[in-house]
């Protein structure tokens, strides 16, 4: 039996009936990674001792007759921007190449507390800046559905690990689409909760008003269970909401009759027919499930990319000022004085995209330009958020394509950062508004080579339970489960 293709509930069935042990399940994953990750390169590092020790603890609890914890024995991959005590956390950057995290992120601690088995750390764009995982300082990750193509980004390693059965679920981070877009590219499910729903203690900061931690899985149900585990108040993150966490798995009733599904006209305008056709089929499916389809308008969509890239680069330039070669990270050995050491360490330690964003962010915050760029963008953010608040007076959820493009070839788009930014159009709006969003598989493009398409579903603040219920019903009705698309490896 192949233990690497299972869902969480299938793993639990095996553990309960003693058909498998957590150690066997962890080992099966580590072996598969050993054999196959040479082609995908989803992981940057593995922590087999930690994984097997945790799996052994789970097996001991089962042997002692204890009830299974919600994620007992579930193999998890963690994006390498999330701290894991005692293991390297590099953010896929040279500047943190040898950084060993002194503590666990709250999300990691909660996963392990629920019995999950952390296998290792996954590749990503450097400091989560990018949409293809090609900005990793170490190596690019390949899309397990087509190894010549990118897995999306920035959490491309986590998405690829789940798609390639190198982990059952994974954690990623999403600032402008970095969980949702790679989920679409790798044909899996990925979710960003409401801003503040999941603690960011232990997430290396990129853009603090936009950063989220969230789950990947091969089914909506698995994603719901991970989110339920990691969500909720954390005294160590003052931006984490104190609101109670709903039952997400319990909300997956399959019944979505009467749900009002908004379709923003601005999002389908100019969309290529390959992706647009699938999205239309997805919308028809909602209709068949008894949802009411309501055309809506989000009039400021066209200004979202400009707004997002001003705000996220401004915040990044400030957050990344801490990498100066003093307390941690890379230090250049060739320097004349302290200032020269900062500059040489930063220039040698950061890659091109990170420098570009630091430069942009520094410029838009600099004297004389602050009002024209940064303050202007903050005002436009108000308008974009208002669009959503007004839309949610009319509808319960909003559906959109996750990305306007299908997974592209490695190297195809690296030379034009602006073009890369423009493809984030459908994901950055929800990030700016702080609402939750999920990407679920929505079939494959009709013509060769039949690439995955993702449907994004958005809901109002803290309405994750309803969002997951809609996504789960859609997944089941569409037959868009992973088994419908045989894994190519």
């Amino acid at each position: 039996m192949d233990f690497t293709t299972l869902t969480i509930s299938q793993i639990h069935d095996l553990l309960k009936t003693r058909q498998a042990t957590a150690v066997e399940i962890a080992q099966a994953h580590l072996e598969r990674i050993e054999q196959k990750d040479k082609e995908v390169r989803a992981y940057l590092s593995l922590c087999p001792e930690r994984a097997l020790a945790q799996a052994k603890r789970v097996d001991e609890e089962i042997a002692a007759g204890k009830t299974l914890a919600p994620l007992a024995g579930v193999p998890v991959a963690v994006k390498d921007v999330i701290l894991t005590r005692g293991t390297r956390t590099t953010c896929a950057s040279r500047i943190l190449e040898n950084f060993v995290a002194p503590y666990d992120a709250t999300a990691v601690e909660r996963l392990e507390g629920a019995g999950a088995v952390i296998l290792g750390k996954t590749n990503c764009d450097e400091f989560a800046m990018g949409s293809s995982t090609e900005n990793s300082s170490f190596y690019p990750t390949h899309n397990p559905r087509d190894l010549t193509r990118v897995p999306g980004g920035s959490s491309g390693g986590s998405a690829a690990a789940v798609a390639a059965n190198f982990a059952t679920v994974a954690l990623g981070s999403d600032t402008g689409g970095s969980i949702r877009q790679p989920s679409a590219f790798c044909d899996i499910v990925g979710m960003m909760g409401t801003y503040g729903r999941v603690s960011r203690y232990g997430l290396v900061a990129f853009a603090s008003s936009l950063d989220h931690i969230g789950p990947f899985g091969r089914s909506v149900r698995d994603v719901a269970l991970v989110l339920e585990t990691i969500a909720g108040r954390d005294p160590l993150d003052s931006t984490c909401a104190a609101l109670p966490v709903d039952e997400y798995v319990g909300a997956l009733s399959g019944d979505v009759r009467g749900i009002r599904v908004g379709v923003p006209t601005e999002y389908l305008k100019g969309l290529n027919s390959e992706i647009g056709g699938n999205i239309q089929k997805g919308i028809d499916l909602f209709s068949k499930l008894g949802c009411e389809i309501v055309p809506i308008s989000l009039p400021h969509t066209d200004h979202a990319i400009g707004c997002y890239y001003i705000i996220c680069t401004a915040e990044a330039s400030s957050n990344l000022a801490r990498y100066d070669g003093v307390r941690y990270g890379f230090r250049s050995t060739q320097h004349e004085d302290l200032r020269d050491m900062y500059r040489k360490s930063r220039n040698l330690g950061f890659g091109a995209e990170v420098k570009r964003r630091i430069m942009l962010g520094t410029y838009v915050l600099s004297s004389g330009y602050y009002d024209a760029y940064y303050l202007k963008a903050q005002k436009v953010r108000t308008l974009i958020t208002r669009d959503f608040v007004e839309a949610f007076d009319e509808v319960d959820v909003i559906v959109t394509p996750t990305s306007p493009i299908a997974p592209f070839k490695l190297g195809e788009r690296v030379d034009d950062p602006l073009q890369m930014y423009l493809a984030d159009i459908y994901t950055v709006t929800a990030s700016l508004a702080g609402i939750p969003g999920i990407s679920v598989p929505c079939g494959k493009t009709p013509s060769e080579p039949h690439l995955p398409v993702g449907m994004q579903i958005l809901a109002k603040h803290f309405d994750e339970a309803r969002l997951l219920r809609v996504a789960d019903a859609f997944e089941k009705a569409g037959g868009f489960s992973i088994r419908a698309f045989p894994f190519i490896m």
């Binding site: 200004h303 570009r356 308008l383």
Partner: protein, 101 residues
């Protein structure tokens, strides 16, 4: 406002980045085109709009404060474990004050 090579160098200096000549040449057109693109925001009249610094939600209760209780924090060794250079329980940096001989 054209974005020039001089601006690239000025911004790099503010950001404590020491760019090579090649990097300056590469970044100039890329940054210029992005800045040109974001001018698009000026199409919108925002004179009566409040800026939004972060996400707030109606009726939200933020856990902005935690109980003011002492808790375990990093030991000196743990705090210094990732330092490129340390000594005598401190982070070491190149000399910043010149000594008179």
């Amino acid at each position: 406002m054209a974005f020039t090579e001089k601006d690239v160098r000025y911004v790099a200096d503010l950001a404590h980045l020491e760019l090579t000549e090649d990097e300056v040449k590469k970044f100039l057109p890329q940054l210029a085109s992005i800045l040109q693109y974001v001018q698009k925001l000026n199409e919108l009249d925002t004179s009566a709009i409040e800026p939004m610094a972060q996400v707030t939600y109606p009726g939200s209760q933020n856990a902005a404060f935690r109980a003011d209780q002492p808790r375990r924090t990093f030991s000196q060794d743990e705090a210094l474990a990732n330092a490129p250079e340390s000594g005598a329980g401190c982070f070491k940096v190149p000399r910043v004050i010149e000594r008179e001989e």
